[in-house]
Amino acid sequence: MEKISYRPESLTQTPFTYCPGCLHGVAHRLIAEAVDEHGLINKMAGVAPVGCSVFAYKFFNFDMAEAAHGRAPAVATGIKRARPDMHVFTYQGDGDLAAIGTAEIVHAANRGEKISVFFVNNAIYGMTGGQMAPTTLPDMKTTTSPYGRDTDDIGYPIRVCELLDTLVSPYYIERVSLLSTADILRAKKAVSKAIQYNKEGRGFTFIEFVSTCPTNWGLDPLKARTWAKENMLPFFKLGCFRDKGAE
């Protein structure tokens, strides 16, 4: 018998520190598979954020840097400019990318930095224990919106893909989900395309993953997927916003 599905080479043997059923691991695997597939394991550098995926630098089996909270796109810019022959991505959560790091992501995208950004959106802060995120849905309860997100007070969730799609420079922007095996297979294609463009030095590529947080939503992993399908997908519509390579 031959192994047809197995742990990619671009992942280390360190077990993930995420909660049971957390889909960060699926996103990690998709990136690792794409790096393997495009033969980039020796030329890849990743930048980890602050948040649940703060330890991402332990899980990818190539060069990694750990950034200050929200500053990953700036760190990635530095690496890419210093070593143009390497391929660089950031991995960021919704607090890191869409709250504290809004300035950095917008300006990295606007400069058309030749990096890939993988953005995991689960509508909540996981690591600090379930606080409101910039992508928390209207009326959704978190530990810092204990009466539900009040859009009159704090505004609506930010749709990052749509926001970045207003800029001229980005090369490829797509939103995918990790909520079913079919969706994961679509996400795999998108991740592979982003890494392909990255390899070819085309420009700024951005993938948003709609994901879950079973622990802080207070749901088991199965119910969390269902909840996300019913509540997140109507607000965060899946699809490709920009693909200059297909034009």
């Binding site: 200050a68 809004t102 600090t128 224990g129 606080q131 810092t144 009466y147 704090i154």
Partner: protein
């Protein structure tokens, strides 16, 4: 009021609300998250403002605006987040605004870890932000003291128009101890508080035709004018050093063979060790600075008894307050230091061992 078993992070939040704080801006970070969560739950119930900012940088600048309006305002964070706030804190000090900042310290440098440490002493007491300024820095050693310091911090901030930092750590934030709260200020009393700032703060003009023009500002292009401003700040700091020093004397006597100096969480552990060596008939005293700026230099010098062979400094860092102790001791007796870093906390047994080695010398 009956005692309540409470985490330090929640006790300081409750005490701040009772002290008339109705504005709070912050960003989540471990190990102070219970503080921001408590504020999120309780501020709406007292018609206060809770706002989770998009970053520490934004949060401290919201504090700047609110403090410039003369209201009691607070923010909190842990070490890396405090570093981000430092620019804003410098502006607050420069503009002479009253504000309270809580730092629930963790291990560093950089992201470090989330366990208790005392590595931010230099940052808190010697600057941190740019320019010539001082923070008044309170250093609690128990959950009760942490809570009591809320009203003290707001009083000092209002009195001197200066930012005040409460320098706690992950252990004080996360541990639960019984706490007894002071009577809460009434709504009427809270309404009175900003009135003493109305001569300078942003506020409605109620003087009819006599317009006021209050500037909340730390910019002064003319060096001669800025020199005057900084000199005035320094006179204020001298006044604070004269009036506000506070410290605890523990087991100080003429029999002391060693004098310890420790602050915050570290002092709790040193106390246990002092109690242990006492059982063996050895006398060790301790000075615990309760404020670490202004610093109790004289109190330490005076506590060096006739039999003291050595002053021993214990901190959860690589020797930061040590510099201040050396200034206080001024070469009279040797000063030794022992510390633990990276979020590793020393145990009473380890301190006891260090003290016993002194007796053998």
């Amino acid at each position: 009021m009956a005692k309540i078993l409470m985490k330090g992070n929640e006790a300081i939040a409750e005490a701040a609300i009772r002290s008339g704080c109705r504005l709070y801006f912050a960003y989540p970070i471990t190990p102070q998250s219970e503080l921001i969560e408590y504020m999120a739950r309780m501020m709406p119930k007292v018609n206060g403002t809770f706002l989770q900012a998009e970053s520490e940088v934004a949060a401290i600048n919201m504090v700047y605006g609110a403090a410039g309006s003369g209201k009691r305002v607070m923010t909190s964070s842990s070490s890396p987040g405090i570093s981000l706030k430092m620019e804003g804190i410098s502006y607050i000090a420069g503009a002479e605004l009253p504000a309270v900042i809580v730092n629930v310290q963790r291990g560093g440098p950089g992201l470090g870890d989330i366990q208790p440490a005392q590595g931010d002493y230099f940052q808190a007491t010697k600057g941190g932000g740019h320019g010539d300024y001082r923070l008044i820095v309170l250093a609690p050693a128990s959950v009760q003291e942490f809570a009591d310091m809320a009203s003290e911090a707001f009083e000092l901030a209002d009195k001197y128009r200066n930012p005040v930092m409460i320098l706690a750590d992950g252990m004080l934030g996360q541990m639960m101890e019984p706490v007894e709260f002071k009577e809460a200020l009434t709504d009427a009393e809270i309404e009175e508080l900003p009135k003493k700032h109305e001569s300078w703060c942003i506020c409605p003009n109620e003087d009819g035709d006599k317009k006021h023009h209050h500037e909340i500002n730390s910019l002064e292009i003319d060096p001669v004018v800025l020199e005057k401003h900084v000199t005035k700040l320094y006179e204020k700091y001298a006044e604070i050093e004269k009036n506000e020093i506070s410290y605890e004397r523990y087991n100080i006597s003429d029999d002391n063979e060693v004098l310890c100096v420790a602050w915050g969480t570290a002092s709790r552990i040193v106390k246990s060790a002092i109690n242990e060596v006492k059982k063996d008939g050895k006398s060790v005293g301790m000075i615990r600075p309760i404020k670490v700026w202004p610093y109790p230099y004289e109190a330490i010098a005076q506590a060096i008894g006739p039999k003291v062979k050595k002053v021993y400094v214990f901190e959860l860092n690589t020797g930061q307050m040590l510099d201040d102790v050396k200034i206080a001791v001024a070469g009279k007796v040797p000063v030794e230091f022992w510390g633990k870093v990276g979020g590793v906390v020393f145990t009473p047994a380890e301190i006891k061992e260090k003290l016993e080695a002194c007796f053998k010398e």
